[in-house]
Structure formats: structure tokens, C-alpha cells
């Protein structure tokens, strides 16, 4: 069955909403990148845990949570308008 035709270009508000959804999709990718980054820190040189590592992880964690909290209200609002898969 053919999908209903969607407009090719959008007004400012729906455009922003789409990009917010894109950002929400990308957020876990960013998170994964930041959480895997320490794997590149030279492991041979350091045999014990430093407080810096702990601080780094909790800081990343907190930033991700803050971003998710910032996205959440906008994502919850504009959901009703039918299909939104792209």
C-alpha cells in the first residue's frame, strides 16, 4: 500500500522537532563513543585506578543524563502527528 504523501519541506517548528528526534537518536551513539574512549588510554602505563577515571565517567554520565532531560519534553510533545519515522 502506498504511504500517504508527505510534504517535502517543513515549516520551522516541525523542522526543529524532526531535528530534535534526530538528536535523540544520536545521543546513545555519542554516549557510546564517550564511554569507549578510555579504551584508547594507554593501559600499560597505568596499572591502578585513578580518581581521574572515576571523575571522567561520572561527568560523562551526568552530561548524557542532562542532555536526555533536555530532549525529553520536546520529544513527548509533538508525537501525535501521525507517522514520524523520518
Amino acid at each position: 500500500m502506498r504511504r500517504p504523501r508527505r510534504p517535502l519541506f517543513l515549516a520551522r517548528a516541525p523542522y526543529r522537532r524532526r531535528r530534535l528526534r534526530d538528536a535523540a537518536r544520536l545521543l546513545p551513539v555519542l554516549g557510546l563513543f564517550l564511554l569507549l574512549l578510555p579504551l584508547l588510554w594507554t593501559p600499560e602505563a597505568r596499572v591502578s585506578l585513578t580518581a581521574g577515571d572515576v571523575v571522567y565517567f561520572f561527568a560523562v554520565w551526568l552530561i548524557l543524563i542532562a542532555l536526555a532531560a533536555a530532549f525529553a519534553p520536546g520529544l513527548r510533545g509533538g508525537d501525535s502527528g501521525g507517522e514520524d519515522e523520518d
Binding site: M1, R25, P28, G31, L35, L36, L39, S48, A69, G82
Partner: protein
């Protein structure tokens, strides 16, 4: 601290939970949940992810492997902050399809296949059993810590007895609040609220212990950081494989764990709650792990060599003489363990009863089904299942003897449930995933997981013999449980993760690519994958031969009399019928099935209805028929639309024609009255004067005058009749045209001369451009001249300027010649321009110089006959008429 006091506190705490659950259940029954359905409660209930494993085990994990324990929280964090991608869809599907458990989701997606439901249930039970044992073990260990710490160690209970009592108590609580009723959506408000309370307790407990450690034992944050740097924590020898693998594993587990699925999808009240939980739940996890590293570091420093780091949360406060804090920590750990066991056993019991016990029962007693109250059977099955799950957990604890670090068992369980991931993700994002593929993937994953992770966890010689460990199954070296295909170098955990997920996904994809899905599967696949695109297309039920009474009887047994009757009555009213028995239409059967599936699962509900309706499944042909039918309907409606617009157009044309006819009729009436008036005026004067003449005896001068009047009036009458005759001839198109070449200039000369007879007293200035008039036209010269005369006479008659002028402009363009007659009077008012070409139209009676107002009408008809036109030309500074004639008039059909 006295041991008995601890037991008392424990009992009081459990009593408190009972009270909370009881009050909430009662409020829910009266439909007054209010703030209990808030996102806060939803988020807190998600915290059952943090079990006793987290509460106690994380510290031990940190003490053994440094920061690796964080991976267990990073996975869920990533899944939740990316809720828009996956969780939103999962929750929407769960709500739309009344999913009751993760086994129900998989079975429902793949054509309501009960086989799949059974497989998923088996995986979940096998994976959950050690996990539940782990919770029992943690409680027993915690009791043990207090028992040994107590100076008056009277030890009223040994560890086995404690485990039994904990298991029995949990079973009682779960059965009481987990199987109170069969809800349409399998929701348990009492339990969820109790879980939320426990979430607060464990968070507060852990934060309290952490604060005590950081600010009580160590000297604040700075000191703790210095200690972490100084500590000989086993390592930041982070292994990239384990780090990445564990993040993936915990992310998979948070979706697939039965208890997580239960609180996240099944108990979800409102999709908006998920948006809030997307950041609030990671925040909760962060708070839970904030003090793990300090507790581990300080514990390693202070506690004697060989102390179990898993119990630092308890032993640290105890060793420092903080009895109350230790009690709080104990209650926190107890909360973690009990909440996990309660929800896990509810979720597992739902699966076991819906996918194993009820189908079996229906098969064993097909006839008796009609007689019994199925609700009681289902509830009893649930209760038995809960007891069985807890008994399994207890049995595992007894057999394994409480061995192993908590973290290891937790990870094995995670890996077990993660086997569902390919079938689930594939099922909701890929329409091509088939039942066979899912079965193959799940079975492969289960086997590999058991062989590489679960069975080896018992140790060599327990289930797998030492020979198998060393030489591989059947003596094949490449089948060694910890080194499949020669990969011994891998970490055992990652080895199991890698091979089980890889082979699972491979089997799933291959199976899906190579098989053809059944019709119900395809329907369900489309409905799941396109869940955001509105309603599912075709109906799943054809109109059956079923009696509504039988349906009602069945529904009553599952939903209860009141609910079933209400459902049927509503449906009947929607169909416009009285009473309780609606027609078994496909939409009604669909809604009934989805309602039933909320209680007994999709597969069972489908099977029960198809037993009654008689037609088990739709076929591919049915699907195709429906599809082509809808295509036909589309085409038909398009055709209807075209016809409708055509009809609209025709109706418009008819209306126009009707209006024109009405107007014509009015015109005809007006014409008749006008003409009788015009004929009557001269006739009256003729009759009057001829009467006077017949009386005789009049002076001859008078006779002559009267005779002239009569003559004039007769002439006027004749002229009028001539005009009328002329007009009628012209209008009928019956006029005889004498075509020939004629000079335009000559015609204008003639016309000017002839028109001079009209009001000869006025001196007109005529402006002409003679060279432009040198055109020879092929037309009827007399008729065209007649038009010119008429126009010029009109100008002479009506131009009211003091020094009247008439400008005649000729233009030739594209085979047509236009002749404009423009005077310098004040022209014709705008609203009068429309009527001047109508018969008997006269603008004023001021200059009634003969003529009946037929002049312009005749002009118009003549021009029409000559293939041209005459029109009023506005905006020329006076009255202006434009005559357009073709240069060469082709002879029309005679």
C-alpha cells in the same frame, strides 16, 4: 546488635510493604490511583534493575575489577537515553497489542506461535533461576554477617532455614498481590507501588552508607580521591573486549529481562512516563553507583584481609559500631532482593501459565472447558507457577551451595536472557523476520549459552565432565566449552557472549531469509513493525459460524461474568442491538481476542477463539483477496469521485441553462409588452385623427395637417414594423447577405452622408484618418453601412458636448478590421452599458427622435451575421463603439 531485633525489623518492614500494596490495590479497585500513576512511580519501579547483586555485589565487583562494574549501568543508560529509537516502539507495541510478557511479545509477533512462547519461557526460567538463587543467597549472607557479628550469637536459625523462610515469605507476598485478579492488561498496581517504595529504601540506604564512608570514615571528598589514587584496586587493566561486551550485555539485558519488561512495558500506564524515565532512571543508576568506589576503597583499607568485599556495605558500618546504619543497609539489600524476586516471579508465572499450563490444560480437557470457570484455573496456574519458580530458585541455591561471586552469576543470567534480543529486535524492526528464524535463533542461542556459560558455571565435573572441559564434547577439540573453534584466548564471559549472540543472530537471519512466513505471521509482522502508522489493515477473522452465546460463555470464564457481559453489551449497542449478544462480526472478534489476550496471552486467546469460530487461521489467499479487495475499493471510490465531479459540472451547466431560460422568458414578456406599447402609441393617434376627419366639416388646412400627422404616424409604424421584421430575420440567421468587395472609406462616407439627416441642425466635427481607411473588405457593404449609420446617428442624437466631435479610427490587425466611433460626450454610464444592446433599450426619453430603441440590437445582430461584433469601448473620454469585422468574410453555409 541482637539478631532477633534484626528479624523483627525485617518482619515489620515486610508488614509495611504488605500494607502499602494492600492500600494501593484497594484504591486501584475503586479507580482512585491519582499520583500513584505518576512518572515518578514508574521510574522508581524500573529500579528493580538494581537487585541485591547491585546493592552488595557492585562493591565487591569494584574491589575485584575496578571500574568494570560501571558497564552494568552504562548499558541501561544508553538504552534509556536512546528511548526514542527502541523503548518507545516497544512500549507502544506492548500497549497496542496487550502484551503480557516478553514471551507473549515474541509469540504474538511471530504469528501467535505457542512454540515460541514455550521456548522463550524456558530460556527465561532457566536464566532466572540462578538469579533468584542469587537473591536468596544475598539475604542469607546478610543474615550471616549479623549473626557472626552478634556477641550473644545464639543463632536461632541456620542459613538453610533462613533461605526457606525468605522464599516462603516472598511466595506468599507475590501470590497475594500478583494473582489477586486477572487484569485485562496484567497490571499490578499494589506490587508496582511496593517496588517503588523499596526503590527509595535501597537508594537511601546506599547513599547513607556512602555518606558515612566518605564523610565519617574518610575525610571528605578530597580525601577519598586521594585514597582512590593510592589504593591498590585490582585494576584499571580494562580489557577492551570485556568493557565493550559488558556494556552491550547490560543494554540487552535491560530490555530482555522478564522483570524489566514487566515494569517497563506491561505495567506502563502512559507513554509520556517513558520520556521522564529516559533521564530519571539513568540518574537513579548514577546515584546508586556514586559511592560504590569509595566504599570499596575504604573497605579494602579497613577490613581485615580475606573479608568478603560483597558484604562491605554491611560490614563497614558494623565494624564501626553503627548498628542503626547497618540495619538500614540490611533493609536496603533486603529490599533489592525481595523486589527483584517478586516481579521476576510474577513475570515468569505469567509466562508459564499462559504459554505452558493453560494450553496444556485446554488440550487435556477440551470438553470440560465450557463448564469450568477458567479464571480460577488461570489464577491457580499462576500461583503454582510462582511457587515453582521460587522453589527452583531455592533448589538451585541449595545445589550450588551458594558458591561463586555474585557478579559472575548475575552476568550468566544476563547472557541467558540476552538470547531473546535478536528475535525481539528483528521482530519489531524487520518485517522479514519469520517464526522459523526466531525458533532457530533462540534454540541455537540457548544451546550455545548453556554449553559455554551456564553449565560450565557449575564447575568441572558437576554437569559437564572434566574431560569435556579439557578435550571438548565428543573429543573434538574445537568444541571445548571455553574455547569454541579454538578461541581459548578470549575471556570466558566474552567468549560465551560472542559465540552465543553471533550464532543466534546468524541462525535467526538465515532462518528468516530462507523461510516463508504464514499469513498470521505476516499480519502480525506488519502490525508490529508499522505500529506507529496507525491501525492494522485487514481483519484477522472472517465472519464465522459461531454462536454468540458460546463466545459469551467463554469470555465469562476468562474475564469474569460482569466484565464479559459489559463487553458484550457495549459491542451489541455499538452494532445497534439490544441485549448482550452482538453479531460475531470480524471487528468484534478482533476486539474480543485482544481483550482475552490481555488475560491469557495472544497465542492462547487466538487458539480459544479459533476453536469456537472454527476457522483456525486465515490463508495467504485470504490476505491477497483482502488486499485486492481494498485496491478495488480504492479504484471504485476514485471512479465514484470522478463521476461525482462530472455530475457536479453537469448540474452547474443545467442550472445556468435554466437561469438563461428564465431570463429569456422574462425578456420575451418584456418584449411583448414593449412592442404592444410601441405599436399602440401611433395607432392611437392615427385612430383619433381619422375619427376627427370622418366627422368632416373641417377647414382644409386642418384636414391637411391631420392627414400629415396620420401619414407620419403610419410611416413611423411602418418603420417600426420594418425594424422588427429586420431584427427577426437577422436573429434567425435567415438573412440574405450580398457579399462583395467594398471600400471601407466609401462605406464610411455613405454613412456620414446618410446620417446627416438625423438632427441636421447640429454641426459635427468629424475627425478621420483617411489613409488608414483605404481598405477593401469582402463583406455585405449595405449591411455594414447600416451599422455605421446607426452608430453615427446615435452620436449625433445623444452627444451632449457643446462642440460635438466624432472621431473615426480604423485599425487592421490579423485579418480583422476594427472601426471605432468615439464622440466627446459624457458617454454611457457604467451600469447602462450592459443593456444598450438589448431591444427597446433607451437610456433617456430626452431625445426621442423616432426609433423604438431597436437600433443597437439590430447592429449587434448584423455584426453577428457578418462574422464580427460591435461593443461598447470604455475609457475613451466619451461614448465609443468598436465595430470589428473580418477582412474577408468567408461564405457561411448559405
Amino acid at each position: 546488635m541482637p539478631f532477633n531485633l534484626l528479624v523483627l525489623a525485617c518482619l515489620l518492614y515486610v508488614a509495611f510493604l504488605f500494607a502499602v500494596a494492600f492500600v494501593v490495590e484497594n484504591r486501584a479497585a475503586r479507580g482512585r490511583l491519582g499520583w500513584l500513576r505518576s512518572p515518578v512511580v514508574y521510574t522508581l519501579s524500573l529500579s528493580i534493575y538494581c537487585t541485591a547483586w547491585t546493592f552488595y555485589g557492585a562493591v565487591g565487583y569494584a574491589a575485584r575489577s575496578g571500574l568494570e562494574f560501571l558497564t552494568i549501568y552504562f548499558g541501561p543508560t544508553l538504552v534509556f537515553i536512546g528511548w526514542w529509537v527502541l523503548l518507545r516502539k516497544l512500549v507502544r507495541i506492548g500497549r497496542q497489542h496487550h502484551v503480557t510478557s516478553i514471551a507473549d511479545l515474541i509469540s504474538s509477533r511471530y504469528g501467535k506461535s505457542n512454540t515460541l512462547g514455550v521456548i522463550v519461557t524456558v530460556i527465561m526460567v532457566v536464566a532466572a533461576t540462578p538469579y533468584i538463587a542469587l537473591q536468596l543467597q544475598s539475604v542469607v549472607l546478610a543474615f550471616g554477617v549479623f549473626a557472626t557479628a552478634a556477641p550473644d550469637s545464639s543463632r536461632p536459625l541456620d542459613s538453610a532455614q533462613i533461605a526457606v523462610w525468605v522464599a516462603v515469605g516472598l511466595a506468599a507476598f507475590t501470590i497475594l498481590f500478583g494473582t489477586r485478579n486477572l487484569d485485562a492488561r496484567e497490571q499490578h498496581h499494589g506490587i508496582v507501588t511496593a517496588i517503588a517504595v523499596e526503590a527509595v529504601v535501597k537508594l537511601v540506604a546506599l547513599l547513607a552508607v556512602g555518606s558515612f564512608v566518605v564523610w565519617g570514615l574518610a575525610g571528605g571528598v578530597g580525601d577519598v580521591i586521594a585514597r582512590i589514587d593510592a589504593a591498590d584496586l585490582a585494576a584499571w587493566q580494562v580489557q577492551p573486549g570485556r568493557w565493550t561486551g559488558l556494556i552491550f550485555l547490560s543494554a540487552a539485558a535491560v530490555i530482555c529481562l522478564p522483570r524489566m519488561f514487566q515494569v517497563m512495558v506491561v505495567e506502563n500506564e502512559d507513554e509520556g512516563h517513558l520520556a521522564r524515565a529516559s533521564w530519571a532512571f539513568p540518574l537513579y543508576l548514577l546515584a546508586m553507583s556514586l559511592f560504590i568506589v569509595p566504599i570499596a576503597v575504604v573497605g579494602l583499607e579497613r577490613m581485615p584481609e580475606g573479608a568478603n568485599p560483597d558484604m562491605f556495605v554491611l560490614t563497614l558500618p558494623l565494624a564501626e559500631g553503627q548498628g542503626a546504619l547497618a540495619m538500614l543497609a540490611f533493609l536496603g539489600g533486603f529490599s533489592s532482593a525481595t523486589s527483584m524476586v517478586i516481579v521476576e516471579s510474577v513475570a515468569l508465572a505469567t509466562m508459564i501459565s499462559n504459554h505452558m499450563m493453560i494450553p496444556l490444560w485446554l488440550r487435556l480437557r477440551p470438553g470440560a472447558a465450557a463448564a469450568d470457570d477458567l479464571r480460577q484455573v488461570v489464577l491457580m496456574a499462576r500461583r503454582l507457577a510462582i511457587a515453582a519458580v521460587l522453589a527452583l530458585g531455592y533448589g538451585y541455591y541449595q545445589v550450588s551451595g551458594g558458591s561463586g561471586a555474585l557478579a559472575a552469576i548475575g552476568l550468566i543470567a544476563f547472557l541467558g536472557v540476552a538470547q531473546v534480543l535478536p528475535a525481539m529486535i528483528g521482530g519489531i524492526f524487520w518485517r522479514g523476520a519469520t517464526r522459523t528464524g526466531a525458533i532457530l535463533g533462540l534454540v541455537t542461542g540457548l544451546v550455545v549459552w548453556a554449553y559455554t556459560s551456564f553449565l560450565p558455571s557449575f564447575g568441572p565435573g558437576a554437569v559437564l565432565s572434566a574431560r569435556v572441559f579439557a578435550e571438548g564434547a565428543f573429543g573434538l577439540a574445537w568444541l571445548r566449552p571455553l574455547g569454541l573453534f579454538g578461541t581459548e584466548a578470549m575471556d570466558p564471559m566474552i567468549h560465551a557472549l560472542f559465540w552465543s549472540m553471533a550464532l543466534n543472530a546468524l541462525a535467526f537471519c538465515l532462518g528468516s531469509l530462507l523461510t516463508f512466513p504464514g499469513p498470521v505471521e505476516r499480519l502480525q509482522g506488519a502490525a508490529f513493525v508499522n505500529v506507529f502508522e496507525g491501525a492494522v489493515g485487514p481483519q484477522r477473522w472472517a465472519r464465522g459460524q459461531v454462536e454468540p452465546e458460546a463466545l459469551l460463555a467463554m469470555a465469562q470464564r476468562i474475564l469474569g461474568e460482569e466484565a464479559a457481559q459489559a463487553l458484550f453489551q457495549t459491542a451489541a449497542r455499538a452494532q445497534g442491538k439490544d441485549g448482550f449478544l452482538p453479531d460475531p462480526t470480524p471487528p468484534f472478534l478482533d476486539s474480543l481476542e485482544s481483550r482475552l489476550s490481555g488475560s491469557v496471552g495472544a497465542a492462547t486467546a487466538h487458539a480459544m477463539i479459533s476453536q469456537l469460530v472454527g476457522r483456525a487461521t486465515v490463508t495467504v489467499e485470504d490476505l491477497m483477496a483482502v488486499a485486492s479487495e481494498s485496491a478495488q475499493i480504492l479504484e471504485y471510490s476514485a471512479r465514484l469521485q470522478a463521476r461525482e465531479s462530472e455530475l457536479t459540472r453537469t448540474a452547474g451547466a443545467l442550472r445556468e441553462a435554466n437561469e438563461k431560460l428564465t431570463q429569456l422568458s422574462l425578456q420575451k414578456d418584456a418584449f411583448l409588452s414593449q412592442i404592444s406599447h410601441e405599436l399602440r402609441t401611433p395607432m392611437t393617434s392615427i385612430r383619433a385623427f381619422s375619427e376627427i376627419l370622418t366627422e368632416g366639416d373641417l377647414p382644409s388646412a386642418t384636414v391637411a395637417r391631420y392627414g400629415r400627422i396620420i401619414h407620419d404616424e403610419a410611416k413611423r409604424l411602418t418603420r417600426l414594423l420594418d425594424d422588427l421584421l429586420d431584427l427577426s430575420v437577422l436573429e434567425n440567421g435567415a438573412v440574405q447577405l450580398t457579399l462583395g468587395l467594398a471600400s471601407l472609406q466609401g462605406m464610411i462616407d455613405t454613412a456620414l452622408t446618410a446620417a446627416r439627416a438625423t438632427r441636421p441642425d447640429r454641426e459635427f466635427l468629424v475627425i478621420r484618418d483617411l489613409p488608414t481607411e483605404a481598405i477593401y473588405l469582402r463583406t455585405d457593404a449595405d449591411r455594414l453601412a447600416q451599422v455605421f449609420i446607426n452608430l453615427i446617428s446615435n452620436a449625433r442624437k445623444y452627444c451632449d458636448a457643446a462642440r460635438p466631435e466624432l472621431r473615426i479610427a480604423v485599425r487592421q490587425r490579423a485579418g480583422r478590421v476594427t472601426v471605432d466611433f468615439i464622440d466627446n460626450g459624457k458617454g454611457i454610464p457604467k451600469d447602462a452599458r450592459r443593456v444598450i444592446f438589448e431591444k427597446f433599450a433607451r437610456l433617456s426619453d430626452a431625445n426621442r427622435a423616432g426609433g423604438a430603441g431597436l437600433g443597437l440590437a439590430i447592429c449587434r445582430e448584423i455584426m453577428a451575421n457578418l462574422g464580427g461584433s460591435v461593443a461598447y469601448l470604455p475609457g475613451q473620454g466619451g461614448a465609443a463603439f468598436r465595430v470589428t469585422v473580418p477582412l474577408r468574410l468567408e461564405v457561411l453555409a448559405a
